[in-house]
């Protein structure tokens, strides 16, 4: 994987990686949805962390990242809220912050970029943080768990840790927009042709399914704005995945999970039945690394993934 970090981040990330390989301790920002309607994501992430031998220290007093919606009312609030979260991470000595949501990743990185690129914005944020004695120095790096798996654990090491390979399960990756776009904010891999999820699927013993919908939008952010809009976007993408042979989908984003898992039934009228089970990234990795399937919250999904797992002799 050729890492294409922004130049100013390269030195910092190298520093973080060197340090983290010693301590394997990370700041952990679960985001709102993993604490509300997708608790199975939070739980399977913690179980996966145990298997990987890393410690995820939850930033419990952190706020919402702004979820891309807060910008619609005020340009500055999300940036300063995230500065507060980074200040907490710094105070705990946890400069390497890990997320498990594409939207959190994109918006926290955007805020961090805005702060680190402008002394004026950093001073503005710190003037407000100062009202309650906090300060952000600018040392935090925000990364998604997917990037940690590839950069810190490594695909070879991951492959060697697999105790229950996926038996060629045909898995379609679904990235979610904000982990790849805009490239000026993320830039960890090509937004047009990413392959990190494919690499992980193959490392786990599955087969990665290519389809044009993998980098497209799930419609989550506008599901309430107009009836039927999200189900159309979900149906269009899942149709492509199914037609290319997918038996299941994997996503690093709980918002995509809610949309893809929730709206396939509504999309059937226009796009035909697809019924593709949607795995959270850590669920499928944790399963392959030996976490018992019944601990992964698979029964919480609207489209039950256990049927396809039975058909591939992954569970009984």
């Amino acid at each position: 994987m050729s890492s294409t970090l922004l130049p100013e981040e390269r030195a910092l990330d190298a520093h973080v990686r060197t340090n983290s390989s010693k301590s394997k301790r990370y700041g952990f920002f679960p985001g709102c949805v993993a604490k509300e309607s997708c608790k199975e994501l939070f739980n399977s992430t913690m179980l996966l962390a145990d298997k990987l031998g890393i410690e995820l220290v939850e930033l419990t007093a952190a706020s919402c990242c702004g979820a891309s919606v807060l910008n619609d009312t005020n340009r500055d609030v999300a940036r300063v809220l995230n500065a507060r979260t980074y200040a907490q991470a710094e105070a705990l000595g946890l400069d390497d912050v890990i997320t498990i949501c594409s939207t959190c990743t994109g918006h926290m990185r955007a805020a961090n970029k805005e702060l680190r690129e402008s002394e004026e914005r950093m001073a503005h944020a710190n003037a407000i943080l100062g009202k309650f004695g906090a300060n952000y120095k600018g040392s935090v790096t925000v990364r998604h768990l997917l990037w940690l798996l590839i950069d810190d654990i490594g695909l070879d090491a991951l492959r060697s840790m697999v105790v229950r390979p996926l038996n060629g399960l045909k898995v379609a990756p679904f990235y979610g927009c904000h982990i790849i776009r805009p490239e000026s904010v993320n830039g960890w891999e090509s937004a047009r042709h990413p392959h990190s999820l494919e690499d992980v699927i193959v490392a786990l013993g599955g087969e990665a399914v290519d389809y044009a919908g993998k980098t497209r939008c799930c419609g989550f952010h506008v599901q309430l704005e107009k009836d039927g809009i999200a189900s159309s976007m979900v149906g269009q993408n899942m149709r492509m995945a199914k037609d290319n042979g997918a038996e299941a989908v994997i996503t690093p984003c709980p918002l995509c999970h809610l949309a893809l898992d929730g709206y396939q039934a509504d999309a059937a009228a226009r796009w035909g039945r697809t019924d593709l089970p949607i795995f959270h990234l850590p669920q499928l990795v944790a399963y392959a690394l030996g976490v018992p399937a019944e601990k992964l919250g698979l029964n919480k999904h609207l489209i039950d993934p256990r049927e396809v797992m039975v058909s591939r002799d992954l569970i009984n």
Binding site: S68, D72, T73, L81, H178, R192, Q236, G262
Partner: protein, 319 residues
């Protein structure tokens, strides 16, 4: 020099019912632009290959096409950067448009949406009321310069996933261009323009940033956010679900530190909008059966006072 296989979508609406593909091999360096390779193929191999082009330097906006699955300007994209493992470059007409001939598409829906926003200045007073030209300060002009770089190539429109499922959506370019007039101090129709663009589904933007692939760095994604903020600031069409959603999200984050999913759904659809709530109820019921409903009330995160301090300091428009 390298053998480049141009894998080209072929279709003529006058004679064909279904499209086919032609592979044309050209012996050119990988650094050749897709447009130069197409020009070469047309001149040397098959004169019937059709595509739009004019300036060859990313100024005219004519040569947008899908290259390797992503819409780009053919004059700004090298063959090498879009090459598959087998040395082929897949070239298709822009998605979200009806193909006319080969790589040429019917652009009418794009221009129609552009025309709807009345893309010219509409001052409130007559020119004769001014002794000099209407002046704009450098600071006011700075806001408009980036958008003025738009070459209307429709790259953003063709990549937009909302346009692909709902043709009523104005699309990124039209909203960005609306911004150009909404924020122009010489224009007198700001409120009308904000209402018009709201009606054309401004709030249907899915925040996907596909339009961040803009070849001229207009970044319609950011301008869309600017126009949304302008509608909230001027309180235009505030009863639409979009502004209600934005405001209730801000409100729950201020109250609890978290985005409270249950309250956001109720606040967006409308607590007393029984018909609207019934439409989201089936999914809610399916989630409830799986024990997946978000909690009705959230306990605020520790030190939530700090979060409220931030909101208060920045005077977020939270009701």
């Amino acid at each position: 020099m390298a053998k480049i296989k141009l894998d080209i979508f072929r279709f003529d609406e006058a004679t064909d019912t279904i499209p086919h593909r032609d592979e044309v091999t050209v012996d050119l360096p990988e650094t050749t632009t897709v447009l130069d390779a197409l020009e070469y193929a047309k001149a040397e191999v098959d004169g019937s290959i059709s595509f739009r082009r004019s300036c060859r330097s990313a100024i005219c906006g004519s040569c947008s096409m899908s290259i390797g699955g992503v819409t780009s300007l053919a004059c700004k994209t090298s063959c090498g950067s879009a090459m598959e493992e087998d040395g082929s470059v897949k070239i298709d007409p822009m998605p979200n448009f009806q193909p006319m001939k080969d790589l040429v598409v019917h652009m009418d829906p794009f221009w129609d949406k552009y025309a709807r926003l009345k893309p010219y200045l509409q001052p409130n007073d007559a020119d004769s009321a001014h002794a000099t030209e209407r002046r704009v300060s450098p600071d006011d002009m700075k806001k408009l310069v980036d958008v003025a770089n738009c070459i209307m190539c429709a790259t953003c429109y063709s990549l937009c996933p909302v346009v692909s499922v709902d043709p009523a959506f104005a699309g990124p370019a039209a909203i960005a261009y609306a911004y150009r007039f909404i924020e122009d101090v010489r224009d007198g129709k700001r409120t009308d323009r904000l209402a018009q663009i709201s009606e054309d589904y401004l709030w249907l933007c899915a925040h996907c940033y596909a339009c961040s692939y803009c070849p001229k760095h207009v970044d319609p994604n950011d301008r869309i956010i600017d126009v949304k903020r302008a509608t909230i600031k001027d309180r235009v069409m505030m009863n639409e679900r979009g502004p209600r959603h934005a405001l209730v999200v801000a409100k729950t984050i201020k109250q609890t530190g978290m985005l409270a999913e249950t309250e956001v759904i109720q606040g967006t659809v409308g607590r007393f909008n029984i018909r609207g709530l019934l439409k989201v109820a089936p999914l809610g019921a399916r989630m409830a059966l799986k024990g997946k409903l978000p909690p009705p009330f959230l306990k605020p995160v520790p030190k939530v006072d700090e979060i409220r301090t931030i909101f208060d300091a920045l005077e977020a428009p939270v009701r």
